[in-house]
Subunit: 276 residues, 2 copies
């Protein structure tokens, strides 16, 4: 069987009239597959459904989605599952068609190799020049309009493994493919995403974990200077999990206690989920 | 023959791994076909090439593009030609691949019928609530990240034929699918597009025509109040040409001298182009 299902059928193609292609009119999710199962399924599903509501795209049947995901995950020790939902094919024009036939694409990709063990040793990051635009109508959801991330990602050159992005007002928002956390003393902060950025599934998990451990934990506006002045920095997404930042531009950072505690708690939560 | 060419071959499908779909990583142009030929070809081509430069997508060969356009236009009295250029298929991840194989899609669609003769009688428009984000890195070019236009367009309900959009700072920028011109006394103004919007091919033509006629003509920041207080308003794009606005919300507008003069000059330029 192929590693791609388009509306439930093995295929590797979509129509050139699909609004996902023509306008980025859709959403996506990227999940880790571990031991034959997608991790954090429920959280990814909820964000996808929230995105469908926000864009008024008819949501896929969650049982069908789970079934198709299970087909692609079966027998896979480690892999990546991507789900794309678009407003489907339509005649020319921005106006959503009266009758929407969404396109649903599930695809499996190889697990990425990170030989330098970034989760243990940390990564070097740098600021990107490409800014993130601010628009509350699109902030938070994982839609298909990702040119800003593409342009920012193209700026990342070794030794920098990830780039940090500010919005057009100069607030630090996120990595090109990750959420950002800042530890200062015994408080944890992550950028407010009401105007830009994607509310990462692991980000939400980290906030829950930190609050459960009694950490002072805030979603707020952060300046680049506040980020640089942090005691510890780390990045999260569903594939990398948690990567400590060991360097931002010229400054170096320790992999400190808060970072390690959260990383261990996430690993424990993952082990529990896999054991269920 | 089909009305679609994908990389020069009749096809109606692209790969699910195409970055145009996954990230909106590409550009498009929409041209009017008249008497078997695409109108304003050179201007559309230049904007497309400019977009390719700005996004660092290898530009298509202009002779190949012209040849494929000619194949789709041949024998068509009136139709719409759409060109899409994407960064092509690639492995997962925002980073542009080391070797890019762009996807080139040319498609022909029926000419839209506007039975109410909007170019003669004008159209009613209203403000949209969906704002346009500001990002100088993406402003001006006709890229595939068009969710804002999709959401705004979905707000347009009869009798409103088009919606006007402001940016997140509250400046009037454009219609969902058109550029906006404001006539006040003997001056013509159109929104500055350095932060948002698309520099329309007909918009550029109107500015040239107006300047050639000695009109005081400015690209500048415009507030919604300035737009509403105008003596005349009109919209432009490559398919509609020029539509006078006869109503914005509750206020009505005449189809005045400046609007008519520019409309006639555009029609004359079109007749000359077709006669060549």
């Amino acid at each position: 069987m192929t590693g791609v299902l388009v509306n439930g059928l093995p295929s590797e193609h979509i129509s050139v009239a699909d609004r996902g292609l023509l306008y980025g009119d859709g959403l996506f999710e990227t999940l880790a597959i571990d031991a034959g199962r997608p991790l954090l399924w429920e959280a990814h599903l909820q964000r996808l459904l929230d995105g469908c509501r926000r864009l008024a795209i008819p949501a896929p049947d969650t049982h069908v989605l789970a079934d198709e995901a299970a087909r692609l995950c079966a027998g896979q020790a480690r892999a990546v599952l991507k789900i794309v939902v678009t407003r489907g094919p339509a005649a020319r024009g921005y106006a959503p068609p009266a009758v929407v036939t969404p396109t649903r694409i599930l695809s499996r990709a190889p697990w990425p190799d990170y030989p330098a063990a970034p989760a243990r040793h940390g990564v070097a990051v740098a600021w990107c020049a490409t800014p993130l635009a601010r628009n509350p109508r699109l902030a938070g959801i994982k839609h298909l309009n990702r040119l800003e991330q593409v342009l920012a990602r193209a700026e990342c050159r070794p030794p920098y493994v990830e780039g940090l992005m500010c919005d057009t007002d100069g607030h630090a928002i996120a990595g090109t493919m990750s959420n950002l956390f800042v530890v200062s003393g015994d408080t944890l902060a992550t950028p407010d995403l009401s105007q830009s950025g994607v509310t990462g599934v692991v980000r939400t998990q980290v906030l829950a974990v930190a609050r459960a451990r009694g950490l002072d934990c805030r979603e707020r506006r952060l300046t680049p200077a506040e980020v640089e002045a942090a005691d510890e920095l780390f990045l999260t997404n569903s594939i990398i999990g948690l990567w400590p930042v060991n360097r931002l531009g010229a400054r170096t950072y320790p992999i400190g206690n808060v970072t390690q505690t959260i990383q261990q708690t996430l690993a424990a939560a993952r082990a529990v989920a896999l054991a269920l």
